[in-house]
Symmetry: D2
Subunit: 327 residues, 4 copies
């Protein structure tokens, strides 16, 4: 039985706590939050779990093997460092850290102490991303042409981060997993209408082999959109995460050189059944099995670092209104 | 009765010819195309119009007041120059010219000879753009936050231009008309998968007052999308040009500062009736009345030049993978 | 504090129990279910509520004022009768009873003992139905022309009732509330593909003043549809209950006599904001206030009886392949 | 070369004329319409075709082999009878005749004179209906459960027929073709809001083997709907004729008996490519080849008669508010 302590019981913390609580191989022993109201909510939901107000106490407890850190990114490094120093495995919210340097330090520390880090890139455990990965691995789409993601809605503004740090880690981690190669150059544009944090932003990522990716993230859209287009040489797909019944549509469409001319192919469309089930549940169970069987998670510290490096490059490019930043 | 000669009877030429032909105040006297098959099609449709194979003949005819140029952009300058030199008004396909320098020369020539130029920015004459202009002018949206347009589909690849020169003139001319201010900086990214012409591209335009615009143009999309989001301080709208019945949806939604916090407003949605009718018909009739009444068209040579300048800046930025180009 | 006992903890029972549990003016004192597994689930969710296996015990308890009956319709009459005889108010699942005669007996009993009956016509407490009622009351649609509802999906088959008794009570109770008049004639058709219970059925209801209503209920549809069209003299509306953001669309469209000819009007569309919130919560709180303030609920026994009478007429008409049955 | 005369040049006539005109094996020699304005329009479109005002002249001409009758249904019988008596093949608008007795007389006459009748059930020649027929013939859906069609929109009211005679012949002819069996019983309900002709109607058709069909036709709907659900034992499909890109969706879903219980299957969805092309063109060419090769068309007089018999039964049932009428 792996014993888990939760740090942070705000918006997402209750979900992390619930999934560790219900996992057959884990036991949640303590929950920590600086806010008394959050602790009261934890009390109602998990009457048999101890509540503490300071994470310093929590990370030192002997009855804890894993610390799950579900706090704002600015606090990630300090808490994770302390947890690792105390010999605890770390499950940590995305984005991993506020800088690449912090991420490198945590990875090094975990390696030295033979501890696991899992960064909560939840989307990697959804039925949709798993199905797309399968289609790409089986060469159903053929060579990749582009990856285009739109993730927009009205609010919620975050005080301390811009719309990129809030929403783009989802897409960057998905891209990282699906494309399997790091981008070489990043370009980003955006503006802020209320304070210094961008609320609308556009990001282009250049990859090797003429693959291009683009993200549109926006806190000021009247409609919620969660749509990704993936173009390949043989087929193309549309993933609409808001479509309950037909999340992924694979189009038997393509463009190719036919001697001198471009030719087009347009055939059937096919919407494969996408397995349902809570992604976070699968992720938490996977993390527990990684610990038990000493396996490196796909979403380990290195994966987290790759995402943070792209976020840093975006920040730099945004400052210069789209100037390309090499990675 | 204004007498019109048409140069170019390929894809779009038949529509231009038909609309001048049916306009009460105009008479089409000659149609020119270098391709014999195109002339045969013209013959069938307009048995009473003279057909010529060289535009040099056409522009010198005494029975022509207006030359409508519906040819590839590379030929625009030569034909338009000759037409103006021969004292003819010019109706010309978008984009106006292959360079800003060419556009400036044509504008100067037309001014000197007191002739009209109209660049065929057809979208400015659609019910949808007129309705949006009305909403903006009446401050229904309030101060503008952003303009975001997606114009993607499968093909048709053009041999001599990239996807930006093919599709973006629509959006740039619409933006120019709706925003009413020139952009200050342009950033563009994209890749080519088949030859040296980009088939996927992303463009950001920075405007004064923190207004940002973005275009996504793509010849490799499995689905056709023609959607524009416009965010304003008071309301936001979605223009889906493929939705026959509810093209424009105005959302009574907004974000604003409420002291320290961001607050949101979410109310009714409203889809105003958008007038139908062929935009090109309205445009052609407007051009004829501009000539008769000596009025400068909204889509004159200067409007055409503004679009070409943005296209040139995009070309430059694309070369450097998104480096910002000041206008 | 009104004390509540719940009879039936299967599919819907947990929702009824939770809403009475959380209502400020109520206290759930006992839950009853014949199935031990269901009781275990109740135990987990409400550790402080007493569990009993027989409703005979429950309805006699002194610490119960209201019995909420959430069992299959075949058992409604016996349980409700016993509850009323023991002086308890009754909250009861739809359809009210298995026959009009049973409903009449319960209504008479409740009246005699000055007790309240509320039939759980949950939809009457949704934001959508309330908004439509408001539009009709304010004559926004004008005189009613028709009411057309489609409620189809794949399964779930019920053993003891057909698709009409399963799904149509929703629509019949909504119609009863919105139209405010009882139908005069009922016609119903349908077939069964697996046993003697219809899985596809169509129902027409004739009302006074040329108003017609129609229901399509189906357990064998590959897609889920929950759409109601309501046509009026001045405007028409579409209520798509599966559309999260634009549930109700009001069309400024109409048809009218213009002397000899029919004329049409086609204007804006308008999607009013529909209040969110759990309907069952509002219903339960309304029931508690009806008891406290001695008010007759809109969904009282008489409303339940009107629905049952229509269901009986449908059953009769189905037998004769659509023969009209007068009410 | 088969010589064709067209009787009726109103709403649909120009399409019939154009398709016979463009067919390689036919020549349109004369067009007839009682209305002078219609004849002027015909003159403009077909300057080389002779125009006549009375069909009596037209049907007697020696330079005519086929008479295409595109007039209101009330005139069908007289014109078709005269055409057949004069030895002409007949292409005739749907519905075939105003009564079954008329249809029988025309069939008998054509048979006796070895002439062809084709009733213009255009939908049988669409890519969508052909694809569905192919799916049914290949047992992709398995045994049929139901056929449900909705064909609603705002107007256009017809003076002399109700909404059933206007819209339902499409669905009845499609059903007749796809199901391949005549219905045994018909039930219909509806009301009229403006005159004695129903503007909203619902029709149920009972077929052998527990197959049921239902039509909803409506001239008073704020939205246009053209959707057919077809449920089968193995798979189910949705045909949305207004969806340009994904007209037909085949769902790998089903319900079946698993011993005592109902079980459900839910798998992929698949949208086969539906061939495009004008249905009327295919139909006209098919008719010409039926004449040349002495083949009986699938949409011959008998097919027309089957549709008229259903229409008559609907009329009868409507009168009695849904009373079942046996065929």
């Amino acid at each position: 039985m792996i014993k888990v302590g939760i740090v942070g019981y705000g918006y997402w913390g209750p979900n992390v706590a619930r999934n560790f609580y219900q996992a057959p191989d884990a036991k949640v022993t303590a929950i920590c939050d600086a806010d008394q109201k959050s602790l009261c909510r934890a009390q109602l939901n998990f009457p048999d779990v101890e509540l503490v107000q300071s994470y310093h106490q929590l990370v030192q407890r002997a009855d804890i093997d894993v610390v799950a850190i579900v706090t704002p990114v600015s606090s990630h490094f300090d808490i994770a460092k302390l947890a690792l120093e105390n010999g605890k495995h770390v499950f940590i919210e995305k984005p991993f850290t506020a800088s690449g340097a912090q991420a490198e330090q945590l990875i090094e520390l975990a390696d030295r102490k033979h501890l696991k880090i899992m960064v909560d890139h939840t989307f990697l455990f959804t039925g949709a991303v798993n199905k797309i990965k399968e289609l790409l691995d089986n060469k159903v789409l053929g060579d990749l042409y582009y990856f285009d993601s739109v993730r927009v809605n009205l609010g919620l503004f975050q005080k301390d981060v811009n719309v990129v740090w809030d929403l783009a880690p989802h897409d960057i981690s998905i891209m990282d997993y699906l494309i399997g190669l790091p981008p070489t150059t990043v370009t980003a544009t955006g503006v802020s209408h209320f304070n210094s944090n961008e609320d609308v932003a556009y990001v282009t990522l250049y990859f090797p082999d003429n693959v291009i990716a683009h993200l549109h993230v926006n806190w000021l859209s009247p409609v919620k959109v969660r749509t990704t287009l993936i173009g390949g040489q043989n087929r193309m797909l549309v993933w609409n995460d808001l479509d309950h019944d037909e999340k992924i549509k694979v189009y038997d469409k393509g463009a190719y050189h036919d001697g001198m001319m471009m030719a087009y192919r347009s055939g059937d469309m096919w919407a494969p059944k996408v397995p349902e089930g809570e992604a976070l549940k699968k992720e938490v169970e996977y993390f527990l099995s990684c610990i038990s069987n000493d396996i490196t998670p796909i979403n380990d510290g290195h994966a987290g670092l790759r995402v943070v490096r792209v976020l840093e490059a975006i920040k730099e490019s945004l400052k210069w209104r789209g100037a390309p930043v090499r990675l």
